[in-house]
């Protein structure tokens, strides 16, 4: 019976206009390391989209700068026979997130569509989730953000293009993290757009080499499912069984 219900969706392709009660999507991201050039456009796009502060040199030295999405460089071998891989690491949006398990205040929780969200109003700032996160995806807000970081003189004065998120809600003393740009996804669903095709997280949208794909993993026609099925794939720290929804394709 269920296959009969799902059949129209298969024919329609990746349409997010289907009724919400029918089936929850499972948002996932595929990062093709073979295509990734390590340009870090995703990091910059993330910082711009979510107004993540740049962090002063002092903060970077003390390792207090906030990263929602980061790039790590991993090398194998020694010069001249050396291979370097640059790996973008957003929040892995685990299916079994340790941060949600340890959060005392229920401030971080997993939405039904699988996105792990941090609620700043509930967060008490105990930093237990940062200790428990196997991917270093969480950052603590060590200070009040400067006014300058809100008002962004470098951007054109077009408030209509930006929603309320996330400008006024950044709070000192709470933990924050990547949200898979859920504000874009939610707005896209409301407007009936195709998620993964028309609507993308900022990092995926900014990738110049199209190394990242985003979409519903349960939908076989979504870009993410197609990319996932194309080659061998792996997840980071699979031995911990957190079951991340950010999937990597090896070089």
């Amino acid at each position: 019976m269920e296959s009969a219900v799902r059949l129209p969706i298969l024919i329609q392709g990746s349409k997010s206009t289907r009724p919400e009660e029918e089936k929850m999507p499972k948002w996932a991201m595929v990062i093709d390391l073979d295509k990734c050039t390590g340009c870090q456009a995703c990091i910059v796009a993330c910082k711009a989209e979510n107004n993540v502060p740049h962090g002063s040199p002092e903060e970077q030295r003390r390792r207090r700068d906030i990263y929602w999405n980061k790039i790590i460089a991993v090398t194998r071998g020694r010069y001249p026979k050396v291979q370097t891989e640059l790996i973008p690491m957003p929040c892995m949006q685990c299916d079994h997130p340790p941060c949600v398990t340890v959060c005392p205040a229920r401030a971080t929780y997993r939405r039904e569509d699988g996105i792990v969200i941090q609620n700043y109003r509930r967060c008490i700032g105990c930093k237990y989730c940062m200790v428990a996160c196997p991917y270093g995806a969480r950052s603590f807000n060590f200070r009040k953000q400067d006014e300058m970081e809100y008002h962004r003189p470098d951007l054109p004065p077009d408030p209509g293009s930006r929603e309320v998120w996330p400008f006024p809600v950044r709070t000192q003393g709470v933990v924050e993290k990547c949200t898979f740009c859920f504000h874009r996804i939610d707005r896209g669903i409301r407007e009936g757009k195709r998620i993964g095709v028309e609507v993308l997280p900022a990092c995926v949208e900014a990738c110049p080499s199209c190394a990242m794909a985003f979409g519903d993993l349960d939908d076989p026609q979504s870009p993410v499912s197609i990319a996932f099925g194309s080659r061998t794939a792996f997840r980071l720290r699979e031995e911990l069984k957190t079951n991340p929804k950010v999937i990597y394709l090896p070089r």
């Binding site: 390792r63 194998r76 340890v102 205040a105 008490i124 700032g125 996160c133 000192q172 980071l236």
Partner: protein, 404 residues
Amino acid sequence: MERTYVTIEGKSRGYYLLVTLLGLGSVSLLVSFIVSYLKGQQVWGVSNIIPWGQLIIFYIYFIGLSAGAIIISSLSYVLKWDFYKPITRLAVFMGILLMLGAMFFVFVDLGRPEKFWRLFGYYFLNNMTSMFVINSIFYVVYMTLMVFYLWLIFENKKKWAAIVGTLDVIWAISVHMGTGAIFGLIGNREIFFSPIKPFEFLAAALTSGTSLIILTTLGVFKFTGRHIRQDLILSLGNLLSWLIYVLLVLVFVDKLTHLYFPGREPALYLFAGNYWWLFWVFQIGMGILIPLFLLIYPQTGRTVKGVSFASLSVIIGVFGERAALVIPGTAYPQHFFPGFMEGIWGKPGIFPVTVWESLLCLGIVSYIALLFVLGLKFLEILPAQEDEAIVAVEGSNPLLKKMG
């Protein structure tokens, strides 16, 4: 014949000087708390790599001291060894204050301290899979039990004190094991992750609690011109040496497990990384080897001076043990991807000791000490001067008797 308890007069110059000094220390708590609340935790040494710093070290340390003090206090009421009566009230009172101090440390460590009440107000409505929530329930009941226990002792209701005391001891054990589980259950931090972490915490709590009681008893009795039975201190020293053996075995088993299998880099980092001295000098040297030597060697182990030096060493060493867990445990970089991680993500974190964080710790410690000193003045905690008849009734050291 019953032992009587008295308040101290508290009118001497030394007493006022001590209260003033501790009061000044408590003011530093207020100032540094306001500064860190307004400026954010950027004024501390914590970072995104080492999220827990000095305050969490002190927090688990104080919980341990409290649990240890309560368990030691049980010797007289629960096990009915009247020999230890002179220090029971002192130990329970210290247990309450140290627990209060631990709660202060958690409170100021939070990024949003004004939401502290949620941990203790919602109970099971919080996320019950979090060890913090389970512990917060433990702590509330523990605090209540301790206050009730002390009240029963003050009222001299011996039968009830024995019952509540037993409950309190069981609860103190679970409180501190729960605190150990905060770390022991974190599977992605290899230095934390261990099923015997709660037991290790318990053993460390007992050694540090016993040592603190020895030192406080000696200090308070000397300061108030009281006579303390030497064999009481010596028997506590004897107990301490056995507790240190247990701690040594547990630490050995824990580290051996981490070291035995090829995935031993985290353990090697703990032994030889940039925080090797926390482990070797403090945890192993001052926490275990030096006090063991002082207690076993007959010329020092049979004197009050030797026992008090051993206790001092344990007090510092167990603090180092807590630091050697919290700081290197998170400083060791997590390996997200096979291969050599370049740049900052592959480097171990560094924890600088900063002024405001240290002042906060100093402030809380002096505030607790101030409450203790004031408590001696207003509560009947200390025994009246020794009386030969009472000493005869209370008998000699039961521990030594049992061991033959």
